[in-house]
């Protein structure tokens, strides 16, 4: 195997994943916010999030900006970055971990929205290994080879390691981080 084989293999993997799995886009900014809010409320009801419901609703914010015919919407919950800093606003889980995320979606007058980028960061309690999991969607076009930096990737406790993941919707990532990962 050569480096060229590895590069080609990673490109093929990413291309095949992207061709096979295109996440359904949200139809409007309202439906994007409503679906994420409903998911978080459900998680709170089931005890999978320990933050009080009124704090969850307070943390979930959105802002938007229009450029020509396109409206860019940022849906955010918790801090814009989690470097393990003390304090800050986060969603909390019963196991002591904390979650923050931001999703950027673009809506065009002519059709449904499209995912532009996202960051979902789950920070585990002190002493845990790994310290965090982060699911990222990079903005396209990709600046790097998928071998190094796939567009959809996970950081398993290191900012320098990016492992390919399938194209996942924000809801799918939240399901995994809220229900499928325990410190």
């Amino acid at each position: 195997l050569s480096v060229d084989d590895a590069l080609r293999s990673a490109r093929e993997l990413q291309d095949r994943l992207h061709a096979a799995l295109v996440p359904a886009p949200p139809s409007t900014p309202k439906t994007l916010c409503a679906s994420v809010r409903a998911l978080l409320i459900g998680a709170s009801d089931e005890g999978a999030l320990s933050s009080p419901l009124h704090e969850i609703l307070k943390l979930l914010n959105h802002t938007s900006q229009t450029h020509e015919t396109r409206e860019y919407v940022l849906l955010s919950c918790g801090e814009s970055m989690d470097d393990g800093q003390a304090g800050g606003s986060f969603l909390h889980k019963p196991d002591g971990s904390r979650l923050s995320f931001a999703v950027t979606v673009v809506f065009d007058r002519r059709g449904p929205g499209a995912l532009v980028a996202y960051r979902f960061h789950l920070q585990f309690p002190d002493g845990s290994v790994p310290r965090f999991l982060r699911f990222d969607l990079n903005q396209e076009p990709a600046a790097h080879e998928p071998l190094d930096e796939p567009r959809y990737h996970i950081h398993p406790g290191s900012n320098d390691i990016r492992a390919q993941i399938p194209p996942m919707t924000p809801a799918q990532v939240l399901h995994k981080l809220i229900y499928g990962v325990t410190a």
Partner: protein, 199 residues
Amino acid sequence: MSVALRPISLPEFSLRVATRPARGDWFVLVTPPHQLAGTQETLAADVEAFTEGAPKVTSLVESSRDLVRAIRTPTDGVVLVGGLESFSDVEWRSVDLMRSRLEGAGTVVLLMSPKQLNLLAGSAPNLASWLTGGIWRLDEDIEQLSEAERADRLKRLQTSTAMSDEDIIKGAQNGTLSREPQFTEWLLLLGRSDLIERR
């Protein structure tokens, strides 16, 4: 009656209603007339999601007797009443006289325009006294990121990456800015979505 209209988002209002499902709790949500129908639909869905029980919804009330009947309908859950926009001061005065029949009602939510709230306050002072503290004005912008929150997010990005706003703009302009998601957010927070497209 001095009508204090505190702003509230629809999810938070729904949550307040759902977490106080006690008999005799009264709420009023005030919205512009053109938002009443859509707000009622979303509010009913939100309350159902929070309480796991569908509220009893009345969408059109034509007389004071209709209103009393809607509110007194036996239910363990929430009574949501809209469609009050045709009420005149006469109807509200009549409701006020029949207020004893409304005692013991469940959790009641009245959805109305500012004009109807003023009519109610002026013509049904006794009923209005039950509402004190439970009157809210729908503010859809309240879920919008505030200027202070936007500044906090930018500050955290700057601290975390040891980069400045100018670094980000220059990087986006010359095509060297990373495609990592925090930089997309950064550009949007700076109001430079044009550079999101140029990267």
